[in-house]
């Protein structure tokens, strides 16, 4: 996000925070969030894609909500107002093709009739199909679709295929296709939230909700681009709270911290940080370590800065979003690091991957205890790694942390309590050094686009082959 986008977001949050009437504010949040969602999309070389992708996310959310309803017709009637609001917002953005109001969409939207036709083609048969199958089957089908979208977007080869497909639809030159063409802002966080709803609805852990609540939860504009991933019930409680006067002060303080972290610290560190470009140009291990450490801090300040801005903006409206970071680089073990780095993502995977898998493995007595720890830890971290992109290096980054967590877990189980009490501070210091060093080295996998480049960087870091 650019600074002007961030300032726009803060300004809108401030305005929304001034509305004291909660039903009106929450009804307004819906179109504002959708407008922001369209506005912040990146223009792509594929015709109209920056319109169709957010439209698809909106339709998917709509289908998820419809699928959760046992009485679809009644639910549609009861939620007619937010439904009309969503559709009108969508059509109004599409009508910008003719009105040409500045900056509503990154490029000119497609003709209105194609939008109406697409809405009809996607919504009517899906609703009819949903009325024929059980809620559980519908939710299962949508879980499959959401995961498929995730995989398609995160796999470079599939993204390239999608680019070619979209270009073919638009009769554009296929030779210019690239896996970077399909830029779908915020889709990761949208899918995480949708999957949370789908999985919990399917498990009967979550009550059905109204359409306005669902849309505000999925598209809540301060958290659209970089999270955090709040839980629905938590968000619903917050959005129905009346904003307190001191929320503005706390929100502003948080925003200022975020702006400083992102636009001063992270952006300055970006000029010193290790990258795939300079890794091959730096030959001194000392400089390489310095650049790598700069990257460690850069990624932290960048991400935590955005989180601060999101949390602060939400707070201007009296909404408390969950924390995403808790001084992760001060932690003295990898387990504690992962409890304080991208907390909401880690919690998501803990709830939907780690815990169910651990329960399942523990139920089978044939497996040794260490394996019931190792398999879930490794699988969870591999999935977190692959969430960043389905490439060998993200896989290895996940494996690096999975193995690290397992070693940390075994060490905790094996170490003698007497040792801990005797030299607590020394252990803490050693633990911090090891954790920071391990996490920092792990960023090499994350940063380098190929396995060979990562290995070469590791070698240079330790003075091998220089």
């Amino acid at each position: 996000m650019t600074i002007s986008q961030v300032l726009l977001l803060i300004f809108l949050a401030f305005l929304c925070g001034r509305i004291k009437n909660l039903p009106i504010r929450n009804a307004l949040l819906l179109p504002i969030s959708l407008l922001i969602y369209y506005r912040f999309q990146t223009a792509t070389p594929i015709l109209f894609l920056d319109f169709w992708l957010p439209t698809l996310a909106i339709l998917l959310t709509l289908l998820v909500w419809i699928a959760s309803q046992s009485q679809i017709k009644i639910a549609l009637k009861e939620n007619a107002f937010p439904l009309i609001l969503v559709l009108l917002t969508l059509l109004a953005i599409s009508a910008n093709r003719y009105l040409n109001i500045c900056c509503l969409t990154p490029t000119r939207p497609p003709p209105l009739w194609t939008v109406v036709l697409t809405l009809l083609i996607l919504l009517v048969p899906s609703t009819l199909l949903f009325s024929k199958i059980s809620v559980r089957t519908r939710l299962g089908l949508l879980i499959f679709i959401a995961i498929t979208i995730f995989i398609a977007l995160k796999t470079p080869e599939l993204s390239l295929f999608l680019s070619k497909f979209f270009r073919w639809l638009n009769q554009q030159d296929l030779r210019f296709s690239s896996s970077n063409d399909v830029l779908w802002l915020g889709i990761s966080y949208i899918l995480f939230r949708l999957l949370h709803l789908l999985l919990d609805w399917r498990a009967g852990r979550l009550p059905v909700a109204n359409l306005e609540e669902i849309f505000n939860y999925i598209f809540f504009f301060p958290a659209l681009v970089a999270g955090p991933i709040a839980r629905f019930t938590q968000f619903r409680n917050e959005i129905s709270n009346t904003p307190q006067p001191l929320d503005t002060i706390e929100g502003s303080r948080r925003i200022l911290i975020g702006l400083f972290r992102k636009f001063v610290l992270a952006d300055s560190l970006a000029l010193l940080s290790l990258s795939s470009q300079n890794a091959s140009q730096i030959h001194s291990p000392l400089f390489l370590w310095m650049a790598l450490i700069a990257y460690s801090f850069r990624i932290y300040f960048d991400f935590s800065g955005y989180t601060d801005i999101a949390l602060g903006s939400a707070r201007l409206m009296g909404i408390r979003l969950p924390e995403n970071f808790n001084a992760p680089y001060f932690k003295s073990s990898l387990i504690h690091f992962w409890n304080s780095w991208h907390i909401t993502l880690a919690d998501w995977f803990r709830s939907y991957v780690f815990n169910p898998l651990t329960r399942k493995l523990r139920a089978s007595p044939a497996l040794p205890n260490w394996l019931t720890i190792f398999i879930p830890q490794l699988s969870t971290m591999l999935l977190i790694g692959l969430w960043h992109g389905i490439t060998p290096n993200f896989f290895l980054w996940g494996a690096w942390h999975g193995v690290g967590l397992f070693i940390n877990n075994r060490w905790n189980a094996l170490k003698k309590p007497s040792l801990l009490t005797r030299s607590e501070s020394l252990q803490k210091y050693l633990g911090w050094t090891l954790t920071f060093g391990y996490v920092t080295l792990g960023w090499v996998w994350f940063l380098m686009p190929t396995f060979a480049m990562a290995v070469e960087t590791f070698q240079k870091l330790f003075g091998i082959g220089i």
Binding site: Q244, P245, L246, S268, L271, L272, I282, S284, F287
Partner: protein
């Protein structure tokens, strides 16, 4: 609740008032104090000094930024970090982008190759060359940099020139000059060039423009440039050189006019030789050697009327004749190596050379300079 609202309102009022006060005090203090922040540099202290003046088309790939603050430009240069030792014979090279080393790594510029020759003077001082070349062809721009460079006690100046730097209308046509109108005016005044080059409109910057807010772009560029010092020190990369360098124009237009001049001769006042004379006055008693730099000579379409993209044959031939006569009349040392380098050693323009072409030029200059050092001193 009322109490809270009251507290909040007074809080925001205090924040707004204090914020505005600090904003205005900070901004105008900066404008009044005229802080010479360009002189503050991490280069030559924390980071290695740069081998050439900062210039970049792609900052993120070259770890370099085009800044026009002369103080900051020179403070980053290796020249500012190398106090002259008694055993050093210091030579400054000034000139255009070919001297700066466009499309050449920092260790393959003309200066880098000249330093590899390890020349010594008859009294056994080591000859050390420094690159003060800077892109865009303008003699006045070269003189501006020379003026600054003279503060670093050079023993000799090598000035690489070409016809394109000479037209009067090109003298002020450089972003570096446009961004430093005060310095340019002072130089024009000092060198008595007012009648030849009309001084740029004395830009009376407003207080607001000189404030912290008004200077934010320049300050941000300066800060970015300082931070890039780390990657410069770590990589010694200061220019992003593409894997495939675009090739120079070989087939030429049939146009024979040159900046409105028609054959057979350039107008008597067209070439800015007074600027060259002024440079000699400025540098005196330090000698300057003029080097008419190598250029690409095309054999493509219309090469019978033009040497290359820049020059019709008649104009360039006339310039060379005038240059020789200028040097002879004043007893100046001038080296004309316009056709020294074979055509294939030129890259994207008629003056930018490959490392091989640059090395050949350096060898020729080194030989000539050694001879000059041993015969002149």
């Amino acid at each position: 609740m009322q109490n809270n609202t009251f507290t909040l309102t007074s809080f925001w009022t205090r924040v707004a008032v204090k914020g505005l006060c600090l904003f205005f005090i900070g901004n105008f203090a900066f404008a009044f104090v005229d802080l010479k922040y360009g002189k503050i540099s991490l280069y030559n202290h924390i980071f290695a000094g740069r081998m050439r003046l900062p210039y970049s088309d792609q900052p993120s790939e070259s770890y370099n930024v085009t800044i026009t603050n002369l103080d900051a430009m020179f403070a980053s240069h290796i020249l500012a970090g190398n106090p002259k030792s008694p055993t050093e014979y210091r030579v400054l090279l000034i000139g255009d982008s070919a001297t700066w080393g466009y499309l050449l790594p920092a260790d393959q510029t003309l200066v880098a190759f000249l330093n590899r020759e390890k020349l010594h003077t008859p009294d056994n001082k080591q000859v050390i060359f420094y690159n003060l070349g800077y892109p865009v062809m303008s003699l006045l721009k070269d003189v501006l940099l020379l003026d600054r460079g003279l503060k670093f006690q050079p023993d000799l100046v090598l000035w690489l020139i070409t016809l394109e730097s000479f037209p009067k209308e090109k003298q002020l046509f450089s972003p570096l000059l446009e961004q430093n109108p005060g310095e340019v005016n002072r130089l024009i005044e000092k060198l008595d060039l007012n009648e030849i080059i009309p001084p740029p409109q004395a830009s009376q910057t407003t207080l607001w423009q000189r404030s912290l807010f008004g200077q934010r772009k320049a300050l941000a560029d300066w800060l970015r440039f300082q931070l890039y010092g780390f990657l410069w020190t770590a990589t010694h990369v200061d220019q992003a050189i593409p894997a495939e360098i675009p090739q120079k124009q070989v087939d030429l237009s049939a146009e024979i006019d040159f900046y409105g001049q028609h054959p057979p001769k350039l107008g008597p006042d067209f070439l800015s030789f007074p600027v060259v004379e002024a440079a000699y006055r400025l540098a005196s008693p330090i000698p300057i050697i003029l080097v008419n730099e190598p250029m690409f000579i095309s054999d493509g379409i219309n090469s019978h009327v033009r040497y290359n993209f820049y020059y019709p044959r008649w104009a360039y031939d006339d310039y060379r004749t005038t240059l020789v006569s200028f040097c002879q009349k004043r007893g100046l040392t001038c080296w004309d190596i316009w056709n020294l380098i074979s055509p294939e050693e030129f890259t994207n323009t008629a003056i930018h050379m490959t490392p091989q072409g640059t090395a050949q030029t350096a060898q020729w200059i080194a030989t000539a300079l050694e001879h000059w050092l041993y015969t002149t001193k």
